[in-house]
């Protein structure tokens, strides 16, 4: 029946041996409540806080002067801002995929990584959501994209994919937040109960919303969680599909392509899993969580990375093929320009990062080496950023009329803003691992032997009764 019994057949187990309810709870909650704040955390938070201040400075200067401080120009109206937006949104995808889709597919190995993957989603979406506002010529009027009642009796222009984006991203952000918070409630109650200091008791007590762990609570919790998972699942597909519409609805060669939606979704999952690996590998090491985030998790994620990488590679190949097959001179020039034009090094680095490097994951030796996985995840993250650079910049810089061709060079402020959002992302993540349980305590407890075979189901037995074969 459930896959938990198949541990021995494949790779390593999803939880280290010898754990009990108590040891799981102790171990995870102690990171927040008992243990001293490690030096690693202090250093890491300090650096990411500094970067966040860089973001603040860059944004302040941007508001004072205008988007002219960036490298954007005519014809390249979008630059780092949109590249970073798409990149961050993509990264967010893995969290929702892990928590929602893998939940529905009853992949119980997701349990130990879903919490921080969801947190990663939220922070990535927060970083992403900054950019569409920052890149506006008049950012203080960003709310004009919302359909609010106004004296001008004007609505947004519904045919514009940017309006669709507003809805897609804000829906995604709110469902993700809700999903994450609902999942946290039982653990917040655990922390409330174990906290020694008054302040923490009040803090966690407020957030736990009166959770007592009654059967009714559990019943409602499981129902709500399942429903939210059902809601979040289509969002995983829709958000990046809508983001890809920003490009496909345009008529620019290199944008106007029907393959974009699936290829963007695959790319997002690809980038997201790379980021989960990037975060999980150091975290399990530093906090000694190798028992909870085991090699099994890393290997599974590596496999997903390989699979989505192949889909993305297919996208690249088909894009080039269609440019030739369509016999459209503009498309043909576009792909030739990517391969041989001034930005060719970026195109070929992208191919190296996103198609060639992940092929190492076919080797079991690579899949079982955390340092190797960390390296590959890093390369894939860079590769996915380069992919967005290629899509946004190389398509725009040489389109239909050669007379208006141009070049894009990012400025120091482009880099500062990008680095600043990485700082913001990490700073939020550091706060998260310090103040909230980064692994779901109650779900981990379902994995220990005490819980018994049936307890392995993350959802109550009765709710799926009859489906068990």
């Amino acid at each position: 029946m459930s896959q938990v019994h198949d541990h021995g057949r494949g790779g390593p187990p999803v939880i280290g041996p010898g754990h009990t309810y108590a040891s799981v709870t102790d171990k995870i909650s102690s990171i927040v409540l008992a243990r001293r704040t490690p030096l690693f955390w202090l250093l890491g938070f300090f650096v990411s806080f500094l970067l966040t201040m860089v973001l603040l400075g860059a944004v302040g200067y941007l508001f004072a002067k205008g988007v002219g401080i960036w490298g954007v120009n005519q014809p390249i109206g979008w630059g780092f801002a949109i590249i970073n937006f798409v990149w961050w949104i993509g990264i967010g995808h893995a969290g929702t995929l892990i928590s929602a889709i893998l939940l529905l597919l009853r992949q119980e190995w997701r349990t130990s990584i879903n919490r921080f993957a969801e947190a990663m989603t939220l922070f990535a979406v927060a970083c992403a959501a900054l950019f569409p506002v920052l890149h506006l010529g008049r950012p203080w009027l960003a709310y004009w994209l919302l359909p609010y009642p106004n004296t001008m009796a004007l609505w947004p222009q519904w045919r514009s994919p940017l309006v669709w984006d507003v809805f897609a991203v804000s829906t995604y952000a709110s469902v993700s937040l809700l999903f994450w918070f609902v999942g946290l409630i039982p653990d917040l109650a655990t922390l409330r109960d174990r906290a020694k200091r008054k302040g923490f008791q009040i803090f966690y007590g407020m957030l736990a919303m009166g959770w007592r762990g009654s059967a009714l609570h559990w019943y409602r919790y499981e129902t709500a969680y399942l429903l939210l998972a059902g809601l979040a699942t289509p969002l995983v597909i829709s958000v990046h599909t809508v983001v890809s519409f920003d490009f496909t609805v345009g008529i620019i060669p290199g944008w106007h392509s029907t393959i974009f939606p699936p290829y963007f979704v695959a790319g997002a999952i690809y980038a997201g899993f790379a980021m989960v690996l990037l975060l999980a590998i150091p975290l399990r090491k530093v906090y000694g969580l190798e028992d909870f985030i085991t090699m099994r998790h890393l290997q599974n994620m590596a496999k997903i990375l390989l699979a989505t990488g192949l889909i993305v590679g297919y996208g690249y190949v088909i894009e080039a093929f269609m440019a030739w097959y369509s016999a459209n001179p503009y498309e043909g020039y576009m792909i030739g320009n990517r391969m041989r034009g001034p930005y060719a090094p970026i195109y070929w680095s992208l191919m190296l990062c996103n198609i060639v490097t992940p092929q190492l994951l076919w080797l079991k030796r690579v899949r079982s080496s955390p340092p190797a996985l960390f390296g590959i995840a890093l390369v894939v993250s860079i590769g996915m950023w380069l992919e967005r650079f290629v899509i946004v910049v190389t398509s725009l810089h040489r389109d239909f009329l050669p007379s208006s061709w141009g070049m894009y060079y990012p400025t120091i402020w482009d880099w500062a803003t990008f680095a600043g959002t990485i700082g913001l992302f990490l700073a939020l993540l550091f706060l998260f691992i310090r103040f909230l349980p980064m692994i779901s305590i109650f779900e981990m407890r379902t994995l220990v032997p005490e819980a018994g075979p049936l307890a392995m189901q993350p959802i109550p037995e009765h709710s799926v009764a009859g489906e068990e074969g």
């Binding site: 002067k65 205008g66 988007v67 002219g68 490298g71 954007v72 120009n73 005519q74 014809p75 390249i76 109206g77 979008w78 890149h135 506006l136 010529g137 008049r138 950012p139 009027l141 960003a142 004009w144 994209l145 004007l154 609505w155 947004p156 222009q157 045919r159 514009s160 994919p161 940017l162 309006v163 507003v166 920003d246 609805v249 345009g250 008529i251 620019i252 001179p329 503009y330 020039y333 725009l396 040489r398 389109d399 239909f400 009329l401 050669p402 007379s403 208006s404 061709w405 141009g406 070049m407």
Partner: protein
């Protein structure tokens, strides 16, 4: 209820309250309240009065007869370049001149203008203009200057003016000429000199050589079937180029309607817009033009017996020269040979002789008496002045306009000689390099601020009428000269009227008012002089070319023109290793006088699209040979002087030649002009004003960034600017349409826009467009388009709504060129409208793609999705240029000044459309074809741009769009552009093959 006398209902109790007046413990009654209110209002009013600014605001008691707020008035005036006038109509908004248009009645304009005239209004408001009269840097009143001049007059009277010299630019103004004549009559020992850096000395010398006396040449380009240009950039340079471009374009349309189309051969030493329009172009080194002209002359049987190779020179067997000669011979009386102002007098003489020989004189070219008040070789005039200055003969030097310290030939030592003069006076618009060297500096009135008069290329006189009182108390040359007379306080108005009082036919006041209104004085065009040049012994004259030609012009002076006119063979033999250099006026800032004009600085040069700088142009082959790439800083050594210049590789430039333009490298020009470019005058000797051999080029290893608005000039095999030979179209009328495919209408996912009433559209004839840039500046002026500066142009952020794309395809040594003006094409299925999230760009019922600035949040998505890339974004708050108080007066009040973060683009001059519609509605009719003219259309000398209602099948634009040459740019995308292009027709000589490079 009873009513008060003013009809307000009054509460009955109010009449019974009187008894309560004192005390009122229960509070105020209503009457009391009103009293207090009245008192406080009055007090508030009194106190408010004391806070009023002290300036008096005076409303119109009687509104001036003509001024209606919001309604512009137009006044006729004229602008001079090289002394010769172009007639203008200047728009005045409540007394502020804001926009310059051409005067349709003026022969040099015919309603069109050039870029300089369009930009002149910016110079008027330039905050860097000199604003005060200075004596040794101290501010002085005008009366102090008058006193000083009184002193000069008294001093010089005793010496019959022997110590007085006056230096002007070329003078055609009858009033100034009269004043100078009177002054020289009163002070016979005084001298008047002329110097202008771009004066057509060679043309004057050439006329003397060929005809025996200085003449004025008027080409009738519209009568010519075959035109040979010998280094003449007649379409974009010279005092008549606006007219010549119109005449030229008139014969470029002809091909489609079956009438004979003209054929243009251009042999030139730099890559010019005229060369780009040629049916056959041949790049030659400047020194090879003369041998080429001799070969053509020999081939048509001029002078030495044809067939003798020696007589024919090095080009005797040249296929191109022979084909040109044969074509000219086939079109006797309908051919035209034009020589460039910068070519040697011999080339001019040969052109005169060829025209005479071929029977063209009197048909395609006519002669009149000279137009200048005193035609002379200005180089000699300046040389004589420098000699007098150096000899210490001069006590007082009056420099009226011009900037000789900056632009005099480098080896004349003008600056050093100037120092020997006791009293130096400089009248100029800017406190410039020359002012710096003079004690007295008088701020000059801009031509829109002062009365004057001037003559056009055919002699037609115009009154230069001011539109505004001098902003900075400037004075005109007339007023400064008057200071040296017995009536020093005469105004320019009185002086100009005094000149014309005796010269105008009929009752003076009527004639004067007529002249002011029309902008031309009837009957002042010079009569055509009968000339039989064919009988002139041209070869004899050419053989004696060493003789001082200019003697007939200004007796007793040694000629510099003769040095330039040496038989060319000497210079041809210098070999390929010797590099030549050519000096030319800059296509956008001319001789440097427009250096501080931001519109002209940011205006892309027609061929290279370089802005804010001049470059050293070299051919691709020479660049390769010398290992030079774009933006390499070169050190040019010529005649013992050096200058550092950035290199720019120009396809079509002749090999082994370096082309530089004058006017840059100013040090005292103002915010924009100083520090821009390099000073080519610093290596320009008197012996080689326009070209010379032996320039040395050394790479310094440094790079200097150049701001271009177009960096890619190849069309990449796309059918963007379509072109076809006229023969091809005769064989296959649908050839142009077949070059691209257009999807059927109605393929859009969305329903078509509801259309009713007018349907605005535009047609641009690429055959006519000469790439002169007038439309670009006109658009800038009309639409308050900001300038952004070099650093922003480098980053691709120029704001001009209209650009002229230039494509050069084929052989890099001599490619085929084509110009294509591109602004918003107002697509019926506009990709920009679809993607704007805030509905800031929407479609109007009349088919305009409207931009709503205050709705724009600046996502730039519309620009990304625009296949024409015609949208412009305010990355910074560029419109701060309108912050200077004087610049605020420049802005067109009918057009919004845009804020930071907002997208903008061509609107088809929607303010003019509205104005036209309102006018038609007031007159209870519909808009007539031609009522509404866009700014670009109005400025275009060639008449290439036509705007109108395409719903009206009889409108000009409809007819043009129905032409078999009409096509939509990128129509294959289904955008259905409202602006269509008419393909450029060429008329190649079958003997030289279809390909343009000969």
């Amino acid at each position: 209820m009873k009513k008060s006398s003013v009809g307000l209902p009054v509460h009955p109790s109010s009449t019974t309250k009187i008894g309560h007046a004192a005390g009122l413990p229960e509070g105020l009654d209503r009457r009391e309240l009103f009293k207090f209110m009245g008192a406080s209002l009055a007090l508030a009013g009194v106190t408010a009065c004391t806070r009023q600014p002290t300036e008096k605001i005076v409303p119109y008691v009687r509104q001036p007869e003509e001024i209606v707020p919001g309604k512009p008035l137009f006044f006729a005036t004229a602008m001079t370049m090289g002394g010769l006038a172009t007639g203008l109509l200047v728009e005045s908004q409540m007394g502020r001149p804001t926009k310059v248009e051409g005067n349709p009645l003026h022969p040099a304009s015919l309603g069109a203008t050039d870029a300089f005239a369009q930009a002149s209004v910016l110079s008027l408001y330039d905050p860097d203009r000199s604003q005060t009269l200075l004596d040794l840097g101290e501010i002085r009143p005008w009366s102090a200057f008058l006193g000083e001049m009184r002193l000069v007059l008294e001093e010089e009277r005793s010496r019959r003016g022997a110590g007085l010299r006056i230096l002007t630019e070329t003078v055609s103004s009858p009033t100034l000429a009269r004043q100078l004549t009177e002054l020289l009559a009163a002070l016979p020992e005084a001298r008047w000199h002329q110097w202008e850096a771009a004066a057509p000395d060679n043309a004057r010398a050439g006329a003397v050589l060929a005809i025996g006396s200085p003449v004025n040449v008027i080409p009738h380009v519209d009568a010519a079937d075959v035109i040979l240009s010998l280094d003449a950039d007649f379409l974009t340079c010279g005092p008549a180029h606006v007219r010549l471009a119109r005449d030229f374009a008139a014969r470029r349309h002809a091909g489609s309607s079956g009438a004979e189309m003209n054929r243009l051969y251009v042999v030139e030493s730099t890559m010019t817009a005229t060369g780009a329009k040629a049916d056959h172009r041949r790049p030659l080194k400047a020194s090879e033009i003369e041998p080429f002209a001799r070969s053509v002359a020999a081939a048509v049987g001029l002078g030495a017996p044809s067939g003798s190779a020696e007589a024919g020179g090095p080009f005797a067997a040249d296929r191109f020269a022979r084909a040109v000669a044969a074509d000219l011979q086939r079109h006797r009386g309908r051919g035209l040979v034009l020589a460039g102002d910068h070519q040697t007098p011999a080339v001019h003489a040969l052109a005169h002789a060829l025209n005479g020989m071929l029977g063209n004189t009197g048909w395609t070219v006519v002669y009149t008496e000279p137009i200048e008040a005193r035609p002379e070789i200005e180089l000699e005039s300046l040389r004589a002045l420098v000699a007098d200055l150096g000899a210490g003969k001069v006590r007082t030097l009056l420099i009226l306009g011009g900037n000789p310290v900056f632009n005099a030939p480098a080896d004349l030592g003008f600056r050093a000689a100037l120092g020997k003069v006791a009293r130096r006076v400089h009248l100029s618009l800017e406190n410039d390099e020359t002012s710096e060297e003079c004690q007295w500096h008088v701020p000059e009135a801009h031509f829109l601020e002062a009365w004057s008069d001037a003559r056009a290329f055919d002699g037609t006189a115009s009154i230069v009428q001011p539109l505004i009182a001098p902003l900075y108390g400037g004075k005109s040359a007339h007023e400064v000269l008057a200071a040296l007379s017995d009536q020093p306080e005469q105004s320019g108005y009185e002086l100009v009227r005094a000149t014309w009082k005796t010269r105008m036919a009929g009752e003076f006041e009527t004639a004067w008012r007529r002249a002011l209104h029309d902008g031309v004085i009837p009957g002042t065009a010079l009569p055509v002089r009968a000339m039989a040049t064919a009988s002139l012994p041209i070869e004899t004259r050419l053989a004696t070319v060493e003789a001082p030609v200019s003697k007939t012009l200004s007796a007793g002076r040694e000629t510099g023109a003769a040095a330039v006119a040496r038989p060319a063979a000497e210079r041809v033999q210098t070999g390929a290793e010797t590099l030549e250099i050519t000096f030319r006026p800059d296509p956008t800032i001319h001789d440097g006088r427009f250096a501080n004009n931001g519109w002209l600085q940011e205006l892309p040069k027609p061929i290279t699209k370089v802005t804010w700088d001049n470059v050293a142009a070299i051919s691709p082959a020479t660049a390769q040979r010398l290992g030079i790439r774009n933006e390499d800083v070169l050190e040019l050594s010529f005649s013992g002087r050096r200058v550092r210049a950035p290199a720019w590789v120009v396809p079509g430039h002749p090999d082994d030649s370096v082309g530089v333009t004058l006017g840059y490298g100013r040090t005292k020009a103002g915010h924009f002009g100083s520090r821009a470019g390099f000073d080519a005058y610093s290596i320009r000797p008197a012996a080689a004003l326009w070209q010379g051999a032996g320039v040395e080029v050394r790479k310094t290893g440094e790079k200097y960034p150049i701001a271009v608005t177009q960096s890619h000039h190849a069309m990449e095999g796309r059918n963007l600017a379509r072109t076809a030979a006229v023969e091809e179209i005769r064989r296959e009328p649908e050839a142009i349409a077949k070059m691209g495919e257009e999807p059927p209408p109605g393929l859009s996912l969305y329903p078509p826009h509801p259309a009713h009433g007018y349907a605005w559209g535009m047609a641009i004839d690429l055959s006519s467009c000469v790439g002169c840039n007038a439309c670009v500046v006109a658009c800038t002026a009309e639409n308050n388009v900001p300038i952004v500066g070099k650093d922003q142009v480098v980053r691709g952020r120029e704001m001009q709504w209209l650009r002229i794309d230039h494509y050069a395809d084929g052989d890099a040594a001599n490619p085929r060129h084509i110009f294509q003006p591109v602004a918003c094409v107002h697509c019926e299925n506009a990709p920009c409208e679809l993607v704007c999230p805030t509905a800031a760009t929407v479609h109007s019922a009349e088919g305009l793609n409207d931009m709503i600035y205050n709705r724009c949040v600046g996502t730039r998505y519309c620009s990304n999705n625009c296949p024409y890339k015609v949208r412009r974004f305010n990355f910074y708050h560029y419109s701060t240029q309108f912050r200077a108080p004087s610049m605020r007066m420049l802005a067109n009040p009918d057009v919004t000044v845009r804020w930071r973060g907002v997208m903008e683009k061509c609107t088809y001059c929607v303010q003019r459309i509205s104005e036209g519609k309102i006018r038609s509605e007031l007159e209870n009719r519909t808009v007539r074809d031609g009522d509404i003219v866009t700014a670009c259309q109005q400025a275009c000398p060639a008449g290439a741009i036509v705007f109108g209602d395409i719903a009206d099948r009889e409108s000009r634009v409809s007819k043009m769009r129905r032409s078999n040459l009409s096509y939509g740019l990128l129509a294959e995308l289904g955008t259905r552009p409202r602006t269509e292009y008419l393909a450029a027709l060429t008329n190649p000589n079958p003997e030289l093959g279809e390909a343009r490079p000969a």
